[in-house]
């Protein structure tokens, strides 16, 4: 089971994502933005960071990377893709997911542990969780406020495509407390908080982030 982790210039959490993949029992495979080669991976993670320094808009330049053409094509055929933070932003810019991530409502970068509720445990990235399970993982970004038009929001809600919601106070002004969403097929997931930073209690607030990585392993093994 091979999970690709893409490094764009300015990607920061690639080694963290690889560590989480390896800990879950899968094999992390490093993918380079400029190489149009998915190296026969079974799934792809777009990690967090500031790819291209967030120039223009977060994720706006990375979506044009050669590797992204292959990711978009593979996602269309059902390959599991997880975008975390900046990766989520890239997925929105690539139109693999709807909506956009905008400046946090208080205009500050925010690094804080947040509680989120898993509201859809049927995607390939969330099957390890129980429906409604609450987990605590770090949130860290300046542009994490999920926004979309009313029609899209209604669609996301009606189709059960909101996969995680913030519990309690809205940390960044996201519509409907949305922390993560999926596409119609359920293979592409975007998540603003960072499960790869919650894989043990030594370096993170919990080990509850591991569920995203064990989910994909289970989905592939089936």
């Amino acid at each position: 089971m091979r999970v690709g982790v893409i490094t764009f210039p300015g990607t920061l959490d690639d080694r963290d994502a690889a560590r989480a993949v390896n800990l879950s029992g899968a094999q992390a495979v490093s993918l380079w933005h400029a190489e149009a080669d998915l190296k026969a991976v079974d799934a792809v993670i777009l990690p967090g960071g500031f790819s291209y320094g967030d120039y223009l808009r977060c994720g706006a330049i990375s979506r044009f990377a050669p590797v992204m053409e292959l990711v978009i094509e593979a996602a269309g055929k059902g390959m599991p893709v997880l975008g975390i933070c900046n990766g989520f932003q890239v997925l929105c810019e690539s139109h693999l997911l709807p909506g956009a991530l905008t400046r946090n409502s208080d205009l500050h970068f925010l690094c804080r542990d947040v509680e989120i509720e898993i509201t859809n445990n049927e995607t390939v990235w969330t099957t390890s969780f129980t429906q409604g399970e609450k987990i605590t993982i770090p949130l860290k970004n300046g542009e994490g406020s999920f926004q979309c038009d009313d029609e899209t929001l209604a669609q996301l809600e009606d189709q059960g495509r909101v996969i995680a919601r913030y519990v309690g106070n809205n940390p960044n002004g996201s519509r409907n407390l949305i922390a993560g969403i999926t596409n119609e097929r359920g293979n592409v997931v975007g998540l603003m908080p960072h499960p790869e930073h919650a894989i043990n209690e030594l370096t993170g607030p919990s080990a509850q982030g591991l569920g995203f990585f064990t989910s994909i392993l289970q989905a592939m093994v089936k």
Binding site: P9, F50, C111, H197
Partner: protein
Amino acid sequence: MALDTVALAKASPESEQPFAELGLKPDEYARIKEILGRRPTSSELAMYSVMWSEHCSYKSSKVHLKQFGDKAPQSDALLVGIGENAGVVDVGQGYAVTFKIESHNHPSFVEPYQGAATGVGGIVRDILTMGARPVAIMDSLRFGPPDAPDTRRVLPGIVAGVGGYGNCLGLPNIGGEVSFDSSYAGNPLVNALCVGVMKHADIKLAKAAGAGNLVVLFGAKTGGDGIGGVSVLASETFGTSGATKRPSVQVGDPFVEKTLIECSLEIFAEDLVVGIQDLGGAGLSCATSELASGGSGGMKVALDRVPLRDLSLSPEEILMSESQERMCAIVEPEKLPRFLEICAKWDVTVTAIGEVTDGERLEITWNGELIVDVPPRTVAHDGPVYNRPIAQPAYIGEINSKRVDLPIPSNGEQIKAAVLKLAAAPNLADKSWVTSQYDKYVQGNTIQSHPDDSGMVRIDEKTHLGVAISTDANANWSYLNPYQGAKLALAEAARNIATAGARPLAVTNCLNFGSPEDPGVMWQFAETVRGLADGCLEMGLPVTGGNVSFYNQTGSVAILPTPVIGVLGVIQDVRTRTPMSFKTSGLDLYLLGDTYEDLAGSEWAFLHGVRVGQTPKADLAREMRLIELLLDGHKNAIFSAAHDLSQGGLSAGLTEMVLRYGVGAVITLENVGVALLSESPGRVITAIDPSMSQAVEALAVKYAITLTKIGSSGGESLIINGCDISLDELRTAHTSTFPALFG
């Protein structure tokens, strides 16, 4: 303006030059002429002026700083000492750690966001230059009164700048300080620390060796930002009015620095450089002269090859530009193709601008014409040295002889009011408003960060080896007694490492002072250096490097003397660290160390506007016994928690502990008012399981440290001698201050 060449300089010896505008004194200018045997060209003048500025040459501090070498303790841990970009320490298992703290005070006042951001960028490049992967940063910040209008301009900008740059580089921010005093109103302090990790064999030095090797500039293109920043900004006192100096502040691009870091680490991994230097203060003037001095001395540079983002820049400006995110490497010609390939992979601009020669002069040409021809050592190392006049300021005798007269709480109501007042005091209040703007998780190795006693990162995932760092300063004490203040800050930083179970290994420092031309300030500085050097010798901790920032004053009013001391320690297994507080009820709480009526320079005195009296006297032998006790107890898993006491004394220490995990405590104290407010040094609160009581008593006897049982953990309140303060009330007081001040 016509190009001022060496030939022209020889032909026109009497031509007038603006040396004074560039910050050079007449005798310094005369000395340059003596060195060269002619007047300098305008490019040479630019180089000497920036390199001989206070910031680059340490001309006022050198005579004092050499004590760090003269009094250096024997240490097997030191691999690279003072003089290189940063010191390097052996932490075992083949790992070497490099760390350094540096100021970016003046630029941060002028342009808070960019000043702070480029402060982080600069120290990170210093660490990278040693061959290390940067793994964490810390920031020590000081501001004017928290409610002053300008603090509301400066503080949010500086915090956003530290965060904006560090977050984008992917470096966890693992700690630091934020404090306030009116003396910093026109001179905020921004001291940034970076730590990096490498294997012993990978240490890189700044030297240009081997004739025929290439001088390669890589990273950002050179622009007009920060021209003269070094001499104009860092070495000049801010007048109370005066023209804006905004253009002198550098503008940072952390994205470029991030790609430069990854690119450089790949280049280092393939052993493609002979020597390397980053471009910081004084830009190319500094990098070329220091690299050449580090080798045999000979170097030829074609300045017109430097890639520019502003094509109108003159050669003088290119030499002085402090454009960020640039590095200069010495590369063997056969390794250049691979070097270029790696730069291309990371989209990093790279240009060979010259070569090492077997001569002894640094020669720089502009379109073929010789514009600089100097012995590089005279630029980089042989700057002026001043033995500035020193005089103990009059205030010392006056305030040291005065009695500290403060209200001391005694009944329940007064105790509660005092504890809540200290919990909410801006210097002691919860700093999450600041630290939540910093990424502490990236890289996945952060074990401790704010609000723990020290920052701690794991450096090996398999063996669990880690390092801990703390930065500390107590300017109130340093003002009353700079010699003791330096020793006490050193002891505190070392103690903050040891509470977690890490053994202190080495010291870095950032010495922030007023004008060295004021004999009173110079006395504060000299006493501080003497205290720190004596303290380091006594504690066996080598100083690995540091930074001096002078001219932190507005008009004739200097900042409080503020030596920020950073101590680095090593812990064999980060999983075993002692946490700063308790998560369970029923633990016994003990105070280690003696409490005296040490209220001079305390936070309680500060809150009452009292700045008189005598500081406690540092007892470093006892501090070392306490550190050994902490390490011994950690090794034998005796402590459930350990927390250093410093500013705010026992009151602040208990507040921080009970709020950390939301478990209260019941405390009984004799002489309760002084016990809560005193800031006697060398004290630690520990929590232990009752079954360990004999073990902790045995430790206290073994290391001859006073042990006092003060209570136990549990409940939803902090109860002191029956006075009940609910955790909710305490938390509200502690956490409301910053949001109320800064939004």
